[in-house]
């Protein structure tokens, strides 16, 4: 598989040059899904803040769910699967994800822990009249009841990104390509698979 040509960047040295190269790579096709989703969600977040700033939660009416799996549910699961398809656009590399990826995941884990801590505290301190802070799930159900279309949009985008991330296994794709090459008589070298021999023995991860 041939890689697309890298942009010729001559500005900067060392880390700065690598950062510029990564920034320029955002223009490549396989970045369309995450960049597009991030842009849309940013615009949606700004629009939601403008529209609902100061709206009282007591305006929530019915929070009763539908009785059957709906088209929205099917759409979200389909977006998850579609994310897996878009994840296969990128051959990827075998390099370690790097410190910034680990830092971002750690930050995400911290946010999730804080959110669940707030949810637990809010459930243990029930409000009387929808004035005090409510559990986050209440806000989610409130938005879902009043703005179902936009809620569906956000969930579809999130499912798309999660599916792309979970299904993105470039090393496994390379191993399959390497196995196909070997079955057709290609030399059993690392160059044929793009994977180091030790990783071939260990299998995809």
């Amino acid at each position: 598989m041939t890689r697309p040509p890298r942009p010729n960047l001559t500005l900067g040295t060392g880390n700065g040059r690598r950062a510029l190269r990564k920034l320029a790579n955002v223009r490549q096709a396989h970045y369309a899904t995450p960049v597009g989703a991030a842009a849309l969600l940013t615009v949606l977040l700004g629009a939601a803040v403008l529209r609902f700033h100061g709206t009282p939660v007591s305006s929530c009416q019915s929070l009763r769910p539908d009785a059957w799996p709906t088209a929205a549910f099917v759409a979200i699961v389909s977006a998850f699967l579609l994310g897996g398809v878009t994840g296969k656009l990128h051959p990827g590399s075998d390099a370690s994800p790097g410190i910034w990826t680990h830092a971002a995941l750690t930050l995400f884990a911290a946010v999730v822990a804080v959110v669940w801590g707030y949810e637990t505290w809010a459930i243990a301190n029930p409000s009387q009249n929808h004035v005090d802070p409510q559990p986050i799930t209440f806000y989610v159900m409130c938005v879902r009841s009043n703005e179902s279309d936009w809620t569906l949009f956000v969930f579809v985008m999130a499912a798309l990104l999660v599916g792309r991330w979970l299904w993105h296994r470039p090393r496994a794709a390379r191993l399959r390509a390497g196995a196909a090459d070997r079955s057709h008589g290609a030399p059993k070298t690392s160059e044929a698979t793009g994977v180091k021999p030790r990783e071939e023995a260990r299998g995809p991860s």
Binding site: P65, D66, F73, I76, V77, F80, L81, G84, S96, I99, H102, A103, L105, T106, A109, A110, V112, A113, V115, W116, G117, E119, T120, W121, I123, A124, N125, P126, P135, T137, A159, V162, G163, L166, W167, R169, A172, G203, P204, S205
Partner: protein, 109 residues
């Protein structure tokens, strides 16, 4: 480490040692607290991994330690761990569907 945090946190919740609030004996509080302790356990592991990565000891990550370990759990679970490693997208799909069903129909604190 993650298992320790999860079990110790939930045990403390069941004993009502954690002052979540006046309604802390409710089953919904315990269910939400269980999710919180799971998130806290993941955060602890991620933080330790990040610390080791910063100090150039990436091979000491939780995954690396589990691969090299010859303890009783590691000896008995290679097939399970291999299956999980090869099917994490399928597990994600199952989690998404189960989470959607639970959130939609059951989670009513």
């Amino acid at each position: 480490m993650a298992v320790l945090v999860f079990i110790a946190g939930n045990a403390a919740d069941l004993m009502n040692w954690v002052p979540w609030g006046p309604n802390r004996a409710s089953g919904w509080v315990h269910a939400s607290a269980a999710a919180f302790w799971l998130a806290a356990a993941v955060l602890v592991v991620a933080t330790v991994d990040l610390y080791r990565l910063v100090h150039s000891r990436a091979d000491d990550s939780a995954g690396g330690q589990l691969r090299r370990s010859d303890g009783p759990i590691s000896r008995r679970t290679p097939a399970i761990r291999a299956w999980v490693r090869h099917n994490h997208a399928l597990l994600g799909a199952v989690g998404l569907i189960v989470g959607g069903v639970v959130g939609h129909f059951i989670w009513k604190p």
